[in-house]
Amino acid sequence: MRNSGPLSEGAPNGSGAAAILAAGFGCAALGILAFAGDASETIGKALNFYNPTGTLSGVTTLAILAWIVSWCVLNLAWRRRDVEFSLVGGLAFLGLAVGFLLTFPPFMDLLQGR
């Protein structure tokens, strides 16, 4: 027998929108930080939080922080309201695309004119 009760019928979409946009933002942050660490030796060294792992440690630590902080902030702002979802979804997918593209070395090289 199917359960007729959804998990949260009629709940505002704000919390979901916050999680989705924050995930897109986290993915974009990962790509941007990876690109910055590759393009600039100074930034690359600054992102070396843990020497055995190198720049990757700073890139991923900061991307995760950006993702979690943005999720908390957006959730606090949107959890009790409905938000316009088409813009949120579009921005989230844009962030995801930025994450994929800016971690792809040939695309990084193209942007740096290598």
Partner: protein
Amino acid sequence: MEITTHDLWTVLHGMGFGALFMLAFSGALAEIYRAIAPGGASARERSLLSFYLAALVVLAWLTVFSGAYIVYPWYRAVPPAGATDLADYPRRLLLSSGKTSEWHNIGMEWKEHVSWLAPIAMTMVAYVTLKYGRSMAGHRGMRACVLGFALAAFVATGIAGAFGAFLNKYAPVRGGSVIILMEGE
């Protein structure tokens, strides 16, 4: 039959966590689709889905953390000056020849970053699916985002896994203490 600690961790990272994530994914995607479709899932199916999603999220995070903080430091170890045998220094071994250098410059450079998209995406997918469930049926945008990010997590893990397998073929991570599993005759 013996294995080194570095080999064991590499197998755990790739086959234990990463491959299990890939295997569990197809089942999870079908369950997610059912849970957010009109009609929804039964209470029992929702419990199964919760377990499935929690396992996927844990596996995704274990894969990237074990890769970045346990296996990757061995991969990028720096050989002593003048070393000619680079077998224990996979990154340097790959970069030592133009025939293998792109396995590092493209393969490892992409793998080490793109894999982190998977746990971020999968955590969001799990949260939204479990919070909204079938009420997403009437919300096309949210449903598209959840399924799109779930697929992206799978693709990111697939890229990382495929390059990981090739990298381990051309420049395996070796070394560490030897664990004897079984003695032969």
